[in-house]
């Protein structure tokens, strides 16, 4: 029926018409080309982002699958579920049976137990740190060191005095200030600090209890952490890397601090403000003047002089004052008092603007930063974590900081940097589960004081029932006899810094990451695991990395929707224009259509002709669009797309995204665009086919 000649004929006539109405053709072709361009570039980048996000998420903490209890009240959200706080994801009371079942699956390569929680970081205050240093110096007996520390203490006192006099100006009730000043005066009085050369507990206690509180407690920091088996973790999460210090040694209690957390929360404010301004003015290219965020940070920076002052001793202060003077900053009116003078100089130094910022930034890191303790926590130190356990009491635990880590590719990302890493045993303890060592300790204490463990459910019967062999009165008397109250218990409550390695191969975890050998079978393996675990009576949820990552995993889906919506809108506009132009075009071509119909062309021929016109326009336009898209992607594949901010950096899984060329998409997208455009012009084409053959006879007037 439809011969090759006929197709040729239709094409020839179609091309002629397209040329005749070329403006219209160009408009429609451009629109469809743009749609196709957007589809190729957009979907291509989206797939890249999804791919890299997948890599980031799987390779950092999620693994391919996550297993957690079905009794969970909240969904597992490894990168945050959109709100802060501790999610209740239930617990796996003993990982052994889960691991055994999961590892039986032929596609599973690893089972990594985990648990996420947060604790309060005990911080003390500025003065406490100095007092600790003083104590250490006194203990060492190094007279030079003691002298320097005492000097430092005196310097701190000077500042406290300064602060008190500032406060006097502001506060109505002066009695508190009078009291404080009296304490400071006592410490500064001859025969107190200046004679402190050997360990004098009464003096130290006075400083610790009366003076230190005056410098105020620092606001608490919540540290989120992931408790895990570090050996398994390191092996299975290739994005994990230690950037400072060392990794957690197996079998040791300890914590690894996230680089991002350290930069954001544990860095001294003055340096943090310099960093923020540097990032936003340098890489971000935003001037300080006129930008609200920069102006706020610059304003805050101007008030940070005291942090610098309190970090330096008198000698350092003198040197710094001289250096600032050499820089041309002499603090306005001259003051004989070193601290007042340095304060004025620093105020001047810290008032930055667009002209001086770059220079001040460098100067700060060269001359001031080395004098300060830049980070509150550094590898080698021990920190105290305080957690509210699940049972409600407060558990405090000292943990050695072994190192600083980050996840490769998204070092600076807000989304990935919130979690620190601790060993699973310490995690359990902070979570409220006793370690074997603690349990042993408790048993020993019980046996010594003669406490009998009684289960709450039958407590009454056990203690007071017929069968009870305990005579409460007698027992307590015996206890008194055996261990006099005046003597301390012989078991020292101690927390060993290590644990036996098999302690982490069993026992509690909150969730577990599962790594697969063949990631393409993720969904079938997920179902298999769910099935196996359910069959054995374990009530768990098995979810994939996308779901486990919480809101971040949904991000790609949202972007996809937005993109498809945009393409859809362009399409809709193009289709309306196409249909309109065919209908209007029909008016110009009534006689031509009528003639064809009169000399024997069926309606279907006319429909075919119009569809051919749209099809040709669509194909040429969208192929051109896809071609341009390919060129763009080729260019981007060599230079890379820089991530403009941290969130995007996380999505890109690195500072730059190098898009891949997807030929299926490059060829498929224009074909689909053409097909949809052609199909959707059927209505208008049928409208054109309704032109009466008699119209051929109508003469233009």
């Amino acid at each position: 029926m439809i011969s090759l000649e006929m197709v040729k004929l239709i094409m020839q006539v179609a091309f002629r018409n397209l040329w005749l109405y070329r403006i219209k053709t160009i408009v429609i072709g451009t629109l469809l080309g743009f749609g196709s361009f957007l589809a190729v570039v957009g979907l291509s980048l989206l797939q890249d982002v999804q791919g890299s996000m997948r890599e980031s998420i799987i390779g950092s903490i999620a693994g391919h699958l996550q297993i957690y209890s079905d009794k969970a009240k909240d969904d597992l959200a490894l990168f945050g579920g959109g709100f802060m706080g501790r999610a209740d994801i239930g617990e796996l009371s003993d990982i052994v049976p889960y691991r055994d079942l999961v590892m039986q699956n032929s596609n599973v390569s690893a089972f990594v137990p985990m648990g996420m929680d947060m604790s309060i970081l005990g911080r003390g205050n500025e003065m406490d740190d100095k007092l600790d240093a003083l104590r250490a110096a006194l203990k060492s007996g190094d007279s030079d060191l003691i002298k320097s520390r005492v000097e430092q203490m005196r310097f701190q006192l000077d500042q406290l005095k300064l602060e008190a006099s500032e406060q006097r100006k502001l506060v109505a009730d002066k009695t508190e200030i009078d009291k404080n000043e009296a304490q400071i005066a006592k410490a500064e009085a001859p025969g107190f600090l200046d004679s402190l050369s050997i360990h004098d507990e009464s003096k130290l206690q006075f400083l610790e209890t009366k003076i230190a509180p005056l410098s105020g407690e620092k606001t608490p920091i919540y540290l989120a952490y992931l408790g895990t088996d570090i050996e398994l973790f390191t092996k299975n999460f290739p994005k994990f890397k230690v950037v400072e210090g060392e990794s957690l040694p197996p079998g040791q209690r300890g914590i690894l601090i996230s680089h991002k957390v350290r930069e954001d929360q544990l860095k001294v404010v003055v340096a943090k403000l310099f960093d923020r301004l540097h990032k936003r003015t340098g890489k971000g290219g935003v001037a300080i003047k006129g930008d609200a965020e920069n102006e706020r940070n610059a304003g805050d920076l101007g008030r940070q002089f005291s942090a610098i002052i309190s970090s330096v001793n008198r000698q350092q202060a003198t040197d710094l004052s001289q250096k600032l003077k050499d820089l041309g900053l002499d603090g306005g009116e001259k003051s004989d008092d070193l601290i007042t003078h340095l304060t004025n100089q620093l105020k001047e130094f810290l008032s930055v603007d667009d002209q001086n910022f770059a220079q001040r930034y460098d100067w700060f890191y060269k001359n001031i930063a080395p004098l300060m303790k830049l980070y509150e926590i550094s590898p080698g130190e021990t920190i105290a974590l305080r957690a509210y356990t699940r049972s409600g009491y407060i558990k405090s635990l000292p943990l050695k900081v072994y190192g600083v880590f980050s996840f490769a590719g998204f070092e600076d990302s807000d989304l990935s940097g919130q979690t620190n890493i601790i060993d699973l045993v310490s995690f359990r303890e902070l979570y409220g589960k006793m370690t074997e060592a603690s349990q042993q300790e408790l048993t020993d204490m019980r046996s010594q004081v003669g406490v009998k463990q009684v289960d709450a459910s039958n407590a009454e019967d056990a203690l007071f029932g017929e069968s009870s062999q305990t005579e409460l009165e007698t027992r307590s008397l015996e206890a008194k006899k055996d261990a006099p109250v005046s003597q301390p218990l012989s078991i020292k409550p101690s927390i060993p810094s290590n644990f036996s390695l098999d302690e982490i191969t069993r026992g509690l975890a909150l969730n577990a990451a599962v790594k697969l050998k063949d990631p393409s079978k993720i969904e079938s393996t997920r179902k298999e695991l769910e099935q196996t675990l359910k069959e054995k009576g374990f009530e768990v949820r098995v979810i994939d990395w996308k779901q486990a990552s919480g809101i971040v995993g949904q991000f790609a889906n949202i972007v996809t929707l937005v993109l498809l919506f945009a393409i859809g809108v362009i399409f809709l506009v193009a289709l309306v224009i196409i249909n309109n132009s065919i209908i209007i075009g029909t008016l110009n071509r009534i006689r031509e259509i009528g003639t064809m119909r009169a000399i024997g062309a069926q309606k279907s021929f006319v429909v075919g002709l119009f569809l051919a016109e749209t099809g040709i326009t669509g194909l040429i336009g969208s192929l051109a669009g896809a071609g341009l898209a390919t060129v763009l992607l080729l260019v981007l594949a060599t230079v890379g797309i820089p991530a403009p901010n941290d969130v995007v950096a996380f999505l890109f899984s690195g500072p730059r995204l190098y898009p891949a060329l997807r030929w299926g998409l490059i060829i498929g997208a224009p074909l689909i665009v053409t097909l949809i455009a052609t199909i959707s012009s059927i209505y208008a084409a049928r409208h054109a086919a309704h032109v009466q053959p008699a119209e051929a006879m109508q003469e233009k007037e």
Binding site: M1, E592, T595, I599, Q602, F605, A694, M697
Partner: protein, 226 residues
């Protein structure tokens, strides 16, 4: 002998706003095969309506039109189209060629729509017709490069290419000078004689009219002379 066209008690009524216009009133007419007939009359007399009905581009309100003894009023659009393609040829006042196509391709057009002709068959038919209308040298030219007379020759060839029994021509000389018009009418006449094709054309040019073997005059939708 069958009648080429038989019109029986045909009326055609068009709605015009709330009223109706009776374009044709109870027409009875027979046109025999091989006739060279003109339909004449002033504007608005029903000439066009008559040609539309004969050309199967419209159906009567009442009565029946028979083409080759086949009634058309009950035919579907598809069948009417097929009937036009096979039995009828059309020549238009403004030639109505497809500008992008060459002379040859314009003439080939109905054959392609018709289907069933091999390339060799088509060439044979078209070459003969091109020679017949005297356009051998212009065969590969685009139709919009031709003069009016030449275009109308192409149109005549196109009308004849499917060997129709009847050719309808709507004012075929109206857009041509009288000399050229004369030649076109003579060509049509020649074909009428050699091919025995029935020719029906409308005109209001007395010079053209005199070539006709029969004149059907219409006035106010009625046949006043036939």
């Amino acid at each position: 002998m069958t009648h080429a066209i038989r019109i029986e008690a045909v009326s055609k009524v068009y709605p015009l706003g709330n009223t109706e216009v009776k374009a044709l009133k109870n027409i009875n007419l027979v046109i025999e095969e091989g006739e060279f007939t003109t339909i004449a009359g002033p504007s608005g007399c029903g000439k066009s309506t008559m040609l539309n009905l004969i050309g199967c581009m419209d159906t009567p309100s009442t009565g029946e039109v028979y083409i080759d003894e086949r009634p058309i009023s009950k035919l579907s659009d598809k069948d009417l189209t097929r009937l036009r393609l096979e039995k009828l040829g059309f020549i238009f006042q403004s030639f109505n060629l497809i500008p992008v196509l060459t002379v040859y391709q314009n003439i080939e057009f109905p054959l392609l729509i018709h289907g069933g002709f091999s390339a060799a068959e088509r060439t044979k038919i078209i070459d003969r017709l091109i020679a017949e209308v005297g356009l051998k040298d212009q065969a590969r030219q685009k139709s919009n490069e031709l003069s009016g007379g030449q275009r109308q020759r192409v149109a005549i060839a196109r009308a004849l290419v499917t060997s129709p029994r009847i050719v309808l021509a709507d004012e075929p000389t109206a857009n041509l000078d009288s000399n050229t018009g004369e030649k076109i009418i003579n060509l049509m006449k020649e074909i009428n004689i050699t091919h025995k094709t029935t020719f029906i054309f409308s005109t209001h040019d007395p010079q053209v009219m005199k070539h006709a073997g029969r004149i059907i005059r219409l006035k106010d939708g009625e046949v006043v002379e036939s």
